[in-house]
């Protein structure tokens, strides 16, 4: 088979799996698991094959036009370069891991068939985005991911949190998608084609009329999909979905789509230095803010969600300094270790029966209950905190190195100010990242107090996947020497000054957090706290759903617990309260959008019920009045009737006479 055929099969197989799963899910439940895992696995194998054949050489381009579509043609096009090949492998790996993990995680879930089919569909859509060489085809995958995300986040639709989160995720990403669509149209009109290669050719030839406008419009869509400030608020709330969904969608793939999209169209953004500065500022605000917020979260998955937002900030930062190699490098390593973190968190939540760090910090020996999750999560957290020699260190240093490169005057790709912003914020975030990673680890695994509940051994499918993912988290960074061949060719090796600075800051962050934890941990014993799921014997999905549903009643908020023993509280001081709620961005949105819309709705309702209804009633009033008058005439007195009758007769007769005599 040619490489093109293989590449077409990569997104097609999971799609067929999804269709088959949806069709057969109810009638043949035995086939659901194979139908979920096997197409994804095959697609991973094919993606690896495609990557091997492509081998970082010339980009593979292939297109076919199904039907003429007016002025700007839309083609089914493939564009596979090194980025696409490697990202597709990442998507395949994470999706396969998630599918295998889900067989154990949602073992007893009655909605597993539709869930697995949606995950397959989602995988297919992401692979389509990755391989697509046409912007409109890419948009199709982009939107299919949006709707799958809506369904999957709302998997536990019995709980109000999940319902609200799914709607929020959908609406916020759609809010970005509208400018995104307009931007795509502007781009396609300017370039005369939606083919990425032609668009890039037009950009290189200076054919773009309004590069800043187009770039900012596209940026809005990317901010929505990749959860960048100010459209990131949906991501932490999306943690109301099952953990594998969080791992797949909200850590490794869907949010990466935005970054990947910019990486593909980076020349469009580079054509406008204003857009690059905006991108840099967005990345900086996202990184620093999300890291602070992550430090204050109580729900372990929300910590990871904010950490995802922050790491995506690194990627957009790398793009802001014009180095897409570093961005995709970080995307790959982050995809691996963040998927691992989420999946391990799912195991921990199952074992502890709670998703609250405050409750976990009051459990002794949780790590002994879940040794696999303990060790793999440690690896992943070290990778997240960018401690050498883990994968996160190399990718993050490549980002910081690229920023330093630009900041020190090599401004051929990006303005120097963008490099400065990304460098400073990246270093600050490195410190904060290490701090919240340490806090997470300490609170989850170093608790004191009662014995952790024993729920038996975790399913093999879940634990095995953790170890599979631990390998790239540990060792992927060593590929920095090979990867430039696949990317633009720029070196991704860590530079000495930023490495020392970044690692030093990370160590400082970790140590400070440890000190704070030592200081506060004595308090933990004094303040009993915690709520544990009611059905510890249920499967992990059920336990998690109950944990999420019970968090707000137990602690007063989905994100926050009044725990004085939290080191984050000590470190953040007065900022803690604001960081816990995401710096009130939701409240701002509430005031800016929700309330005006509600007010508008109630105004419309008022207009409808009072004004329009008044007209309707008024229209009825005249006939009613006439009716009343006519009714009043019905006195029942026969003489009145006869009088009226005869009077009418006389009038008619006289009139007829007048007409007849011609008077």
């Amino acid at each position: 088979m040619t490489t093109t055929t293989l590449a077409v099969l990569v997104p097609l197989l999971p799609f067929l799996g999804a269709a088959a799963g949806l069709l057969l899910g109810r009638t043949a439940p035995r086939f659901v698991r194979p139908l979920a895992v096997l197409p994804t696995l095959a697609s991973l194998a094919l993606a690896v094959l495609v990557a091997a054949r492509q081998g970082g050489g010339r980009a593979l381009d292939s297109a076919t036009e199904l039907t003429p579509t007016g002025s700007v043609p839309i083609e089914l096009a493939l564009h596979i370069d090194g980025f696409a090949a490697l990202v597709a492998v990442l998507v395949g790996v994470v999706a396969t891991c998630v599918q295998i993990y889900s067989t154990g995680y949602l073992r007893d879930d009655p909605r597993y068939p539709s869930y697995a089919a949606l995950v397959s569909l989602f995988t297919s859509a992401m692979l389509l985005v990755v391989y697509s060489g046409d912007l409109i085809v890419l948009l199709v995958g982009w939107e299919v991911m949006g709707i799958c995300s809506y369904f999957l986040v709302g998997h536990y639709w019995e709980t109000p949190e999940a319902r609200a989160a799914s709607i929020k995720a959908f609406l916020v990403t759609k809010l970005g998608d509208i400018p995104f669509l307009i931007g795509l149209f502007a781009l396609g009109t300017d370039a005369g084609s939606f083919r990425i290669t032609k668009v890039l050719g037009a950009v290189a030839g200076g054919g773009l009329h309004h590069p800043t406008l187009v770039a900012l419009l596209l940026l809005a869509g990317v901010a929505g999909k990749s959860a960048q400030f100010p459209l990131h608020t949906w991501l932490p709330d999306a943690m109301a979905g099952p953990t594998p969904v969080s791992a797949l969608i909200h850590a490794a793939t869907m949010v990466a789509a935005g970054v990947y999209f910019i990486a593909r169209l980076l020349p469009v953004f580079e054509a406008s230095s204003a857009a690059m500065v905006v991108l840099a500022v967005m990345a900086a605000v996202t990184m620093a803010g999300s890291a602070l917020a992550a430090l204050a979260q109580d729900d372990v998955k929300r910590v990871l969600a904010y950490s995802t937002v922050g790491q995506l900030g690194y990627m957009t930062g790398a793009l802001a300094v014009g180095d897409r190699g570093a961005a995709v490098f970080h995307l790959l390593s982050h995809g691996a270790f963040k998927a691992l973190l989420f999946l391990a968190a799912g195991v921990i939540i199952h074992a502890a029966g709670t998703n609250s760090l405050a409750a976990m910090s009051r459990m002794k020996d949780l790590r002994a209950r879940v040794p696999d999750a303990y060790w793999t999560m440690t690896v992943a957290l070290l990778s997240l905190a960018a401690i050498p020699p883990f994968a996160g260190f190399f990718s993050k240093e490549s980002v910081l190195g690229a920023a330093e490169h630009v900041a020190t005057g090599h401004t051929e790709h990006a303005p120097g100010v963008a490099g400065g912003i990304v460098l400073v914020s990246g270093l600050v975030t490195a410190l904060l990242t290490a701090a919240y990673a340490t806090r997470l680890w300490l609170l989850a695994f170093r608790g004191h107090g009662t014995e952790a509940p024993d729920h038996g051994k975790q399913p093999l499918a879940m634990n095995a996947v953790l170890w599979v993912l631990a390998v790239p988290s540990l060792a992927f960074g060593l590929g920095y020497g090979v990867l430039p061949d696949w990317f633009d060719g720029r070196s991704l090796a860590p530079a000495l000054p930023t490495s020392v600075l970044g690692t030093g800051l990370a160590l400082v962050g970790g140590l400070v957090t440890y000190g704070a934890w030592r200081h506060t941990t004595a308090l933990a014993a004094r303040v009993p706290l915690g709520a544990v799921a009611a059905h510890p014997e249920g499967d992990a999905g059920l336990v998690e759903a109950e944990a999420i549903a019970s968090h707000a009643p137990a602690y007063g908020d989905v994100a926050y617990a009044p725990d004085p023993a939290d080191p984050g509280r000590l470190l953040l001081g007065p900022l803690h309260r604001h960081a816990a709620v995401g710096f009130h961005l939701d409240a701002v949105y509430d005031a800016l959008f929700v309330r005006p819309v509600r007010a508008g709705a109630s105004l419309v309702r008022f207009l409808d019920s009072e004004v329009v209804e008044t007209y309707v009633r008024g229209a009825g009033a005249l006939p009613r009045l006439l009716g009343a008058a006519v009714r009043r005439a019905q006195t029942g007195n026969v003489q009145t009737y006869v009088s009226a009758l005869l009077a009418g007769t006389v009038v008619l007769a006289v009139a007829a006479l007048l007409v007849a005599t011609g008077v």
């Binding site: 003489q639 009145t640 007769a653 006479l657």
Partner: protein
């Protein structure tokens, strides 16, 4: 229509002025005035029994008018049926419904003003039309009476036999209907034996018609 009649009348007869009335005309006019006056009293008097008696005067006056118009058989029929039986029947009805003897203040309903308006308007319109149409039409009353018993009988039983017999069926139906109405009411209210007399009364006058 008035010009057609006017020309027909003008062609048929010489002009007869209103200011030189014949004897018949004077008589007709006087009796007519009396009749009209009696009719007015009939519909305005507050004494119900008097109204019936004034109705007798009106109907009698009309009988005289018929005579003056040489329709003698109809005049006698008028006297026999109307004056003789209908008015008697009406008087029976008044008594049976316990109509007050003497002046009753509420003989007229509240509808009087409307009734007056309609009646006056109708009268004005009718009189205007009739006068306008037949101002010059002249009835020549000389010669054989056109309404003698012989003439009327011949006409009735030569040309009008079928309607006459149909009418007899109608009268039979009315007879039965009146009996049924009265009997049913009697069954409902057994205490009023007097009411049964209405039915025989009506039957008798119908036979009179036959």
């Amino acid at each position: 229509m008035s010009p057609a009649f006017a020309t027909a009348a003008a062609a048929a007869a010489p002009t007869h002025g209103f200011l030189s009335p014949t004897g018949v005309e004077v008589a007709f006019l006087l009796v007519g005035l009396a009749t009209f006056g009696a009719a007015l009293v009939t519909v305005t008097t507050r004494q119900l029994v008097h109204a019936a008696l004034w109705l007798v005067a009106t109907l009698g006056g009309l009988a005289v008018e018929y005579l003056l118009l040489t329709a003698e058989f109809i005049a006698w029929m008028q006297v026999l049926i109307y004056v003789g039986s209908v008015v008697v029947l009406l008087l029976f009805g008044l008594m049976l419904t316990k109509a007050p003897i003497g002046r009753s203040p509420d003989a007229d309903s509240g509808n009087r003003l409307a009734a007056l308006t309609v009646a006056v308007a109708a009268a004005a319109a009718l009189v205007w039309v009739v006068v306008d149409a037949f101002r010059t039409t002249w009835i020549d009353l000389d010669g054989a009476a056109s309404g003698s018993t012989k003439v009327t009988g011949a006409s009735l039983f030569q040309n009008w036999v079928l309607p006459f017999e149909a009418l007899s069926v109608l009268l039979l139906a009315a007879l039965v209907g009146a009996i049924v109405l009265s009997r049913k009411a009697k069954a409902d209210a057994a205490n009023t034996g007097a009411s049964a007399q209405a039915a025989p009364g009506s039957r008798s006058e119908k036979e009179g018609v036959r």
